[in-house]
């Protein structure tokens, strides 16, 4: 249970850090598109305060994932091609993962149309919050991951 909670929380952190990172690139690209000739040409600055947390969370995800792997004989290369959330220890956990995945799927079925509806207000939203699409996608992914984690914990303790 602990591995699912930790992995899910780290995944959620990654979604928002990635949204933040892509937003910062988007801001600079927009500047460039608005005024392509007045500056020194294409210039993209990567801020360490943005990249560093992403790197740290990515390293954290890798370490916890590898450390919490169920089959300790699994090599790093074999382990890295799968996800920790799905490394079930017995048949009951496989059943729980199946139920949690179904809950997550239903969450996506609900949240994605809601996201589509929010794009109706694309123009005013983009005017006030230019990076809205990146954070909206991060929110939808978070909803899916949170529902997966909640369902997993619920069925595990049942």
């Amino acid at each position: 249970m602990k591995r699912v909670i930790i992995q899910s929380c780290l995944n959620i952190c990654m979604y928002f850090l990635a949204a933040f990172f892509i937003s910062s690139i988007h801001d600079q690209l927009q500047l460039f598109q608005n005024d392509p000739v007045s500056g020194t040409g294409f210039n993209l600055t990567l801020d360490l305060s943005i990249i560093l947390p992403i790197l740290l969370v990515a390293i954290g995800l890798s370490i916890t994932g590898y450390w919490m792997r169920t089959d300790k004989k699994t090599s790093f290369s074999k382990w890295s091609s799968s996800t920790t959330e799905f490394s079930d220890q017995d048949e009951r956990e496989e059943v729980i993962t199946g139920k949690a995945t179904r809950t997550s799927y239903v969450t996506f079925l609900i949240t994605l149309p809601v996201l589509m509806i929010s794009f109706l207000f694309y123009a005013p939203l983009m005017a006030t919050f230019p990076n809205f699409p990146f954070y909206a996608i991060a929110l939808v992914l978070t909803a899916g991951t949170l529902s997966y984690m909640t369902a997993w914990v619920y069925y595990y303790q049942k």
Binding site: Q89, D90, E91, R92, V95, K158
Partner: protein, 69 residues
């Protein structure tokens, strides 16, 4: 119909802890807890492994109980 099991009483009579029994049949302790509570229905494979550990036929450990209306 509900599947009833005698895992808890048989395990206790053998003097095994949940952890020991879980190791014997290759599952987690949490699965044994759920099994004993009756909230988890094991697969046929796991039921037969349990029967082999207890050296009893499956039907003497797991049986169906008719639910009264």
């Amino acid at each position: 119909m509900k599947l009833i099991n005698r895992v808890k009483s048989l395990r206790s009579s053998n003097g095994w802890t949940q952890e020991q029994f879980a190791q014997m049949i290759g599952v987690t302790r949490q699965t044994i807890i759920s099994l004993e509570k009756g909230s988890y229905t094991p697969s046929l494979l796991l039921a037969m492994q349990i029967a082999r550990v207890f050296e009893r036929p499956v039907e003497s450990i797991f049986y169906l109980e008719e639910e009264s209306e």
